[in-house]
Symmetry: C2
Subunit: 359 residues, 2 copies
């Protein structure tokens, strides 16, 4: 078994703390180790044959530094995309690379920036996926929903199912409305789409060939060697190949179209920590629901439901609620909790105004 | 005519921008000159015989630096209180000092931290007060109210008045409830108490003798010389005298009790800039009512009615309203607009927690 960690996210939704060179997965937003490091440590007990981390050019140096800690624990490979192209090219590249190391190997795909509470149960879930994956299924991990979340995509399975998992997937559903999300939760036949997959490299490469022939051709043309170092022949080939690739998600481009897609349900306490408003799920909060991070001193008069990143300062709150407050270096963000998804619009606006210092 | 400027305020309501050593009157909160400097420049066209600035020990050095600009324009005197004791001792001290310079001189008392829109009309109002003051009245400037403000004290005059001002004062009223403030505004016989006074030094000293005999005795015991420099004999006497004085406001201790108190109405655009929430009255705001100060770049998505002090940073607002947001050095304040008066509670809490670095 090889673990592929997708670590190339740009983390615009955690601006201004996350910037181009320090996206969420490389940050210590929860304190201590970064989310990438936590992801690596979480899978080491599975004793993988190797870990392949897919990152991109501007984050590669910091990624390598953070992974040094584990160089004696497993075979670590860093594959560098010149820039992000969503998940399909990254996964295709990783599959081709793992296939070179060990043709037909089992491959577990994990995002680098997710939070998991019960790591034992998480590993048990991965192990449950091994058998169906070895038999040729594309296994996706589906999180048992605990609330009518509108911020996640869903995976639907047949309602009439008596057997143990895996369950055949009926369809993938984009982020739903509140009403739909309530229906999904009540039905019992929907899972959150975690973006975590288990499959054989030859199976996913075959599916890419069928549904993304252009990507498959480009991957087949790569002359893969073990050396993935900066300016290595492989990296130069990848850089060239990416010029003609368009960004597509593996869900949309392959999973929704492929046959033999199954889901293994997981119930291990999961969050994709997709925005500032997700932090109260994963960081302890006070009695009034406030989460404060990197705050030197806090004085709170009648304030509740706030997420505060303090940049080492004293923070005083008076009569405010459901606010996101982030101080980070040269920038300050104030955002109502319900607008947390719009933080990426600030990043877009910074591009439009050509203010690269803040990106 | 002498001008007395009360410049010893501690400005706790503008924390964390204002701190012990940099209170509101010494700050450039409106951009450009400080409020003290603006106060001086506003009265120079009145060609006073001298300006006496009453400040306190920890602000004296910065006050002296800011006043250097005007040393060729008028006779400037700085009188230093060891620490603030509200307005009555400061005014008594200033009256004794002016009386030493010129017995029976006319004395105009002005706070150092008020904002005035129409400075010409302000000076005309002061001039209207001169004659009644010379005839022995204690003249207070009353601002014609423009809204049912609950943050100011009021001065009541008789409703049946046909004559031109000055009007005899019926009573001073503390900050009213919303209901009372509406009544006051509708009655037409209430003015805002501006804390600005015009009188003869001998008249106010006589009234202090009658209503604050202890303060009068202490003042009479001072051996006043022109030298008010640091560690001068006068300053040493003042330091000793203040040990036994309690703080009292001139309104409460003298004006409410004295006979012959009159009001001259003023309509020159006035604010005491008493808290962060007062800034939209005195600083231009955008179409959505946001005031931003010292902000390097601003990105605003659907936010309104906010006062933002940016400390030279980029500030991004998303879907927030009626918020006070202040970044200043090592501290951050988030406060709902309606709780602006409670900022001083943060300062109290900092004292309680013994965190002098933030004071």
């Amino acid at each position: 078994m090889y673990i592929v960690i997708l670590a190339g996210g740009s983390g615009t939704r955690f601006w201004p703390l996350s910037r181009g060179k320090s996206p969420k997965q490389l940050m210590s937003i929860l304190g201590g180790k970064s989310m990438l490091q936590r992801t690596v440590e979480r899978v080491l007990p599975l004793a993988p044959k190797g870990i392949v981390v897919v990152t991109n050019a501007i984050q590669a140096a910091e990624t390598a530094i953070q992974l040094e800690l584990y160089q004696n624990d497993t075979n670590l490979h860093i594959v560098e995309e010149p820039e992000g192209r969503n998940t399909a090219p990254a996964i295709g590249l990783a599959a081709a690379f793992v296939s070179h190391l060990h043709p037909g190997a089992l491959m577990v795909v994990l995002p680098a920036d997710h939070y998991i509470t019960d790591e034992e149960e998480f590993r048990r879930t991965i192990k449950r996926a091994v058998e169906p994956a070895q038999h040729g299924s594309l296994v996706t991990l589906g999180i048992v929903p605990t609330r009518p979340e509108t911020g996640y995509g869903y995976i639907e399975v047949a309602p009439e199912r008596n057997d143990a998992p895996p369950y055949p997937v009926r369809r993938f559903v984009e982020k739903p409305s509140q009403e739909k999300a309530l229906e999904f939760l009540a039905s019992g036949s929907f899972f959150w789409n975690s973006g975590m997959f288990v499959w054989r490299t030859d199976v996913i490469l075959e599916q890419i060939k069928e549904h993304m022939p252009k990507l498959a051709l480009a991957l087949a043309a790569l002359s893969i060697a073990d050396d993935t170092g900066e300016s290595s022949p492989l990296q130069l080939q990848i850089a060239k190949m990416y010029r003609s690739l368009t960004g597509e998600s593996i869900d949309y481009a392959v999973m929704e179209k492929a046959a033999n897609v199954v889901v293994i349900p997981g119930l291990f306490g999961w969050s994709d920590v997709g925005s500032w408003s997700a932090l109260p799920e994963v960081i302890p909060h006070d009695a009034a629901g406030n989460v404060t991070i990197n705050v030197r001193e806090e004085i709170n008069l009648d304030s509740s439901g706030c997420v505060v990143y303090g940049d080492g300062k004293l923070v005083a709150l008076i009569g405010v609620s459901d606010l996101i407050v982030v101080n980070s270096g040269d920038a300050v963000l104030l955002c109502s909790m319900e607008r947390a998804q719009d933080v990426k619009k600030i990043v877009e606006e910074l591009h439009r105004r050509d203010l690269p210092d803040y990106l």
